[in-house]
Amino acid sequence: MSNNNSSLLLKNARLIDAGQNLDEKADILLVAGKVAEIGASINSTAATVLDLDGAWVMPGAIDMHVHLREPGFEHKETILTGARAAVAGGFTSIACMANTKPVNDSAAVTRFILEQARLAPAKVLPIAAISKGMQGEELVEMGDLVAAGAVAFSEDGKTVADSKLLRHALEYASLFNKPLLCHCQDNALFANGVIHEGVISAAHGLEGIPTLAEDLDIARTIMLAEYLDVPVHICHVSSKEGVRLIKSAKERGVKVTAEVTPHHLFLDERAVVDLAYGETLDESLKPEQLCYNTATKMSPPLRSAADVSALRQALADGTLDAIATDHAPHEATEKAVEYDLAPFGVVGLETAVALSLRLVQEKVLTPLELSARLSLTPAAILGLDDRGTLAVGKAADLMIIDPELQWIVDPGKFYSKARNTPFTGWQMSGRVIKTIVDGEIVFTL
Amino acid sequence: MSENKENSVCSAQDVTQMLKRIAFEIADRNSASEKLVLIGVLTRGVSLARRLQKIISTASGRELPLGILDITLYRDDLSIATHHPVVRKTEIPFSLDGVTVILIDDVLYTGRTVRAAMDSLIDFGRPQSIQLAVLVDRGCHELPIAADFVGVRVPASPQDRVMVRVAESDGFDKVTVMPRNSIPQDSTSGEE
């Protein structure tokens, strides 16, 4: 983003910022892309003034887990469309996974991503693969990738099955202070599974993915990190047992962090056979096929109701550090197939913050805790010192939220190229109405 | 049921008399044919056939075999049927080859039921002849079909509905005429 000298004064905001432990009425002055001043009443003649009339101002959300599909799968999403979806949803920074084509396993690909991101409204942070070609055999040139701009390493979509390779990756990445983001899955137990192994898979004959497939690999990953005394981050935790493993590791002092997705917090396995369960969908948007709708297919899968409540509890108590979307766009025709054949993944950038606000409404999180899970902690995990909070001097990346705005999720209005959301037709309360990156308004509803 | 709009044509006593006459005519006309069978068209045709069988048996000691025919699968109006088709069991426990069939139904109207019944009978074998007996011939035939034995002729317009009620399914015997628009939705009695 360009460094500019323009200034913007946000008046009458409710500033919610975990980084400063602030939840109060305030004016905020943004100058030259940074937060310049916070006060009860600021006057500036030079600044453009926005009277927010009590709307919430929070640090821009930071999504440490998205798939932007470029290079290689531009029919699903591009860096530009993904970034537009991001700012429309309140995300000012997004970290994109390496499973593109070619895989982001070299400085050249990382530089290409950053080059494409120059015109993007959000800050795009490339995550490099752990192994060359994500083949699980040879480590990538981590030093070169870090120098090119990689913020983390991940083999997301797969696991690093070879424990020795994973060990070396953890050791080597610690040299650069860059986290490994681990997609935990035991491949043999995952097998050909398509949904959670439980009462729905039993009843409908769909191949199940046991929580064990995830838990076993979380345990292995934690044990490696503990043994080596290095940090590690667990992607998209979906199970109760996974939560227990992480909690107990944290209690022992293991440097483990973890994220959870909104879909795992709001949907359980029943959605596979009744997408509308428990929710009153807008009639005009209600999908024709509520049973076996492929918008419910993702990895890890939607788990049991007990898992969902464990995840919510863990997000509240801080066992789960961050909310990340695992935004995984797919073209409509790719999802309009038999459930078994559909690719895993759902989009999330344009619904995540609104769903997170619902967690506040449902008293799972306080607004301050929400700010921590969406911005402060993700920034800390990725080592981004200049953002995640709106303290004076930090980047002026923020979202303005109308906490009472009623709206309905309509994928037809998404900025993302993809429409594969399980939340079509949901009635939402609260929405990002403006997004500001480096002091510039990049999205207005 | 709006009884006041129903115009009674035949009483229970009339029905009994008509059946006796038809039975007599059937026996008379077919006294020479050795292989004579009765086949009733479900539902009321079967009730009437059973009564004819009994009358003939009592009067002449002649025991005629009786078959039951469901013509649903032979109807020509399945795709425009507004109600749901219910298929019931056809039971013709004897060969139709070379026999004389008395086909029995309650009302002769368009003739389409009879057409379907004949198609069905012919699929079962090759009867020597088929004769048609109906309790009521209400006219307005749409096919070149005429009954051999008729209880009563009731000239009615297509706007009218002729209803035959029989004790077996309706609790009492009666023939009535009523305007079509006054028929309650749940009425199941009478007419083809």
Binding site: V199 | L73, P85, R88
Partner: protein, 309 residues
């Protein structure tokens, strides 16, 4: 009232009334097989497409005979002759079929939900002839029709289903239909073939050993064991399976004295069922096949004979 759906996709959400109405209709169709001329004009001019993405001789033939006895034009399309092998998507395939204006599409597919997917897409009536391990409603209904020839389909009856429950659509469709009618269902399978979570479905009694499942039951349904599953470590050997789970004369004695034995076919004699049992007068396996035609006639008739709303 009776069966009034656009499609028959499964037994899971059929009401007891719908099930009984289908069985009652099927009862009327049995008689047609005994006529000298086994054909009625009910579906004359209607087109039934049998779209089979999985090899199946008997189900396809059964549907074909049923359609032809109703005078419908039955066309068989199998995966090997269709463009599926050329990589066409299922929806593209059915769009093409729909363009030919069939009245009924009968679909067999190896993946769960395939029938549901196309039912939402096409105007034609859809009959699920098996979708993955999910449902095979006509098989379950013909099984009920067969049971009803020997037993009253009402609470008090106990049915044991033994075999590879996890991969069996026949088992699932039977379980739903039987539970809906209030009949007690016992299932028994090697633990590797018993779907986790099945015991949480209300009404299903899971038995670890066939002896427990068989004790006093009125109906025994043996499932076909797919021999290729042995490669997937689900059971150590056919010999071992036959020894522990196979139905033989001695095991059958544990069931009620008048218990009937069923099998959806094709049978692996000497594996899940001994020839002695399969050929005994307790077995009603061939009745199942005959009833399959009548039941499918009823289904095709009830779907195809309906007016378009």
């Amino acid at each position: 009232m009776g069966f009034k759906r656009k499609d028959l996709l499964g037994t899971r959400d059929l009401s007891a009334l719908e099930i009984r109405s289908l069985l009652e209709s099927a009862e009327s169709f049995k008689e047609i097989a005994e006529r000298p001329l086994k054909k009625v004009p009910a579906l004359r001019g209607k087109t039934v497409i049998n779209l089979f993405f999985e090899p199946s001789t008997r189900t396809r033939t059964s549907f074909e005979i049923a359609a032809k006895r109703l005078s419908a034009d039955a066309v068989n399309m199998s995966a090997s002759t269709s463009s599926v092998v050329k990589g066409e998507s299922l929806l593209d395939t059915v769009d093409n079929i729909q363009a030919m204006a069939p009245d009924i599409i009968v679909i067999r597919h190896k993946f769960v939900g395939a029938a549901h997917l196309i039912a939402g897409r096409v105007g034609a009536r859809v009959v699920n002839a098996g979708d993955g391990a999910n449902e095979h409603p006509t098989q379950a209904l013909l099984d009920l029709l067969t049971i009803s020839e020997h037993k009253k389909l009402e609470p008090g009856l106990t049915v044991a289903i033994i075999g590879d429950i996890a991969h069996s659509r026949v088992a699932r469709s039977n379980i739903w239909a039987l539970l809906t009618l209030g009949i007690t269902v016992r299932v028994c399978a090697p633990p590797t073939m018993l779907p986790r979570g099945l015991d949480k479905i209300p009404g299903v009694v899971v038995c670890a050993r066939p002896e427990a499942a068989l004790a006093g039951v009125d109906v025994v349904m043996m499932l076909r064991i797919q021999l290729e599953r042995q490669d997937r470590m689900l059971f150590p050997s056919i010999r071992d399976y036959a020894r522990i789970f196979g139905l033989n004369r001695q095991r059958l004695e544990l069931a009620a004295p008048d218990a009937i034995v069923m099998h959806p076919g094709p049978m692996n004699r000497g594996v899940e069922i001994t020839s002695e049992v399969a050929d005994s007068d307790r077995a009603v396996i061939l009745n199942q096949v005959s009833n399959g035609v009548a039941l499918r006639m009823a289904v095709l008739f009830l779907l195809g004979g309906q007016g378009h709303e």
